[in-house]
């Protein structure tokens, strides 16, 4: 990666979210969330289910439409309080890669095609270039030999690594991970976490919704603990996870750390 991790000093943050609100009907899921992510940071979003962490992630690339607030990713600024131009949303998504809990590989294409097709359709790359990039990324996630296989012939852990490669092929500035190991056996989850750790070391900016506290503690620079649509606590990961200040966070971490 050409972008060395920087602490953000003197540089505007790569992602800036201000007072973001989202409700599903009468249910307020995000009650005014503000987050800044400098380039190169790995940010973990943790909290109980229903806390709004996945919704926040999905609002960043407009898989969910927020109702109020402001957002900026790289050079794309979005006022979320009104309707947003489709072009602008596509520009926003162009900066963002997304990895889903259930991988969502396209089952009717080979592993290679999964990575090649979006590059061809969205970035207009040639077949040769797209395949070269795809094979290179498959090599990086340790699955070069699976290129011509069907996704159905790959294990869950392999599918998730392929999904990471597919997202990376689009040259995102920020990678969003939505509980990437929650659908996997703990053992298989480790191989996905290893790939994510490598990615973090390479300087990629990452926002990771996770229940993997060890990963959050060791790999992420900063952890945000969310509950009931609010940010309850944020800070350096080890501090937030080991010595949470609020009662709500203490409850949560003592429960998950006991497991």
């Amino acid at each position: 990666m050409e972008n060395a991790p920087v602490s953000g000093a003197g540089q505007p943050p790569l992602v800036k979210i201000e007072k973001l609100r989202k409700s599903f009907g009468p249910l307020d899921v995000l009650k005014g969330i503000s987050v800044e992510v400098p380039r190169g940071e790995v940010l973990a979003l943790v909290g109980p289910s229903g806390s709004g962490k996945s919704t926040l992630l999905r609002c960043i690339n407009y898989l969910e439409t927020p109702q109020a607030g402001h957002m900026r990713v790289a050079d794309v600024s979005v006022d979320c309080s009104g309707p947003v131009d489709a072009k602008k949303i596509r520009a926003l998504r162009g900066h963002l890669g997304m990895v889903f809990q259930h991988f969502n590989l396209f089952p009717h294409m080979s592993v290679l095609q999964n990575i090649v097709l979006p590059q061809r359709r969205v970035l207009g790359r040639s077949v040769e270039e797209a395949e070269h990039i795809a094979l290179d990324l498959l090599q990086k996630v340790g699955l070069r030999d699976k290129a011509s296989a069907s996704p159905a012939r790959c294990s869950g852990g392999q599918q998730q690594r392929i999904a990471i490669a597919r997202a990376l092929a689009m040259n995102p500035d920020v990678m969003l991970f939505d509980e990437p190991t929650s659908a996997l056996d703990p053992e298989v989850g480790l191989e996905v976490l290893a790939v994510m750790t490598d990615l973090a070391k390479s300087g990629m900016t990452m926002i990771v919704v996770t229940h993997e506290m060890r990963f959050a503690e060791r790999v992420s620079d900063r952890t945000i603990f969310m509950a009931d649509g609010h940010i309850v606590e944020e800070g350096p990961s080890e501090e937030v996870i080991r010595n949470p200040k609020s009662e709500r966070a203490r409850q949560f971490f003592s429960a998950v750390n006991d497991r």
Binding site: G94, L96, G97, M98, N104, P107, L117, P118, V122
Partner: protein, 214 residues
């Protein structure tokens, strides 16, 4: 039954196949826009398709065939039996295919479209490259099963004079009074077309199940 009469029966076979597969192809093509309108966000489009689908399905094929043939034929412009049969049975096939596609669409995990959106694929490419091929794939066994039902519906084309298997069967019966033998042969010929289609349906279903099970 004489050899000549058997040949007369056989001459109906191409018409039965033409009406069946012609209607199936018409249905496979026009089923796509019907399904798209059926799931449209626009209330009036969606509702009018719900009404149309219910209407087409609740009237027997024989009535539609007569309606198209006589209503259009006498009131608007003269129409040959074969095109009239293709239009009416094709229309029936279109609404049924639309419902098969809709079922196939519902079977596709919403994560597929989400992944396509997150990768920034356009709506058209998401449909063409991601959704449609998967809908087609899950629809194949159902379409094959439906083709057998359609072949039986296609027999009503004989009532407006399409010289298909049923038509020739009745014709030879009236000439020879050997109804049992003649219609027995007609039945066997229908079975001969259905069996390979049924076999194809089963094979494609098993293949699909195997792929989904891994």
């Amino acid at each position: 039954m004489s050899w000549e009469n058997f040949l007369i029966l056989l001459s109906g076979l191409p018409y039965t196949i033409a009406v069946t597969f012609g209607a199936l192809i018409i249905g496979a093509i026009f089923g796509i826009p019907v399904m798209m309108l059926r799931i449209s966000n626009v209330w009036i489009l969606r509702t009018s398709m719900i009404v149309l689908i219910a209407l087409v399905r609740s009237v027997p094929p024989i009535v539609w065939v007569f309606l198209i043939f006589f209503a259009i034929g006498t009131a608007i412009f003269p129409i040959e039996p074969l095109p009239a049969a293709l239009i009416s049975i094709g229309a029936i096939a279109a609404v049924n295919m639309a419902e098969i596609y809709r079922g196939g669409l519902a079977a596709i995990h919403h994560g597929q479209a989400e992944a396509a959106v997150a990768l920034n694929l356009s709506k058209w490419h998401t449909f063409k490259d991601i959704i449609a091929p998967q809908v087609m794939r899950v629809s194949v066994p159902l379409v094959a099963t439906y083709a057998i039902g359609l072949m039986k519906d296609a027999a009503v084309a004989s009532t407006i004079g399409v010289p298909d298997l049923s038509y020739q069967g009745r014709y030879v019966t009236e000439m020879t009074y050997e109804g049992l033998t003649v219609m027995g042969f007609v039945g066997l010929l229908y079975v001969a077309i259905s069996l390979p289609v049924a076999w194809f349906s089963r094979v494609s279903y098993n293949r699909l199940k195997r792929k989904a099970a891994v």
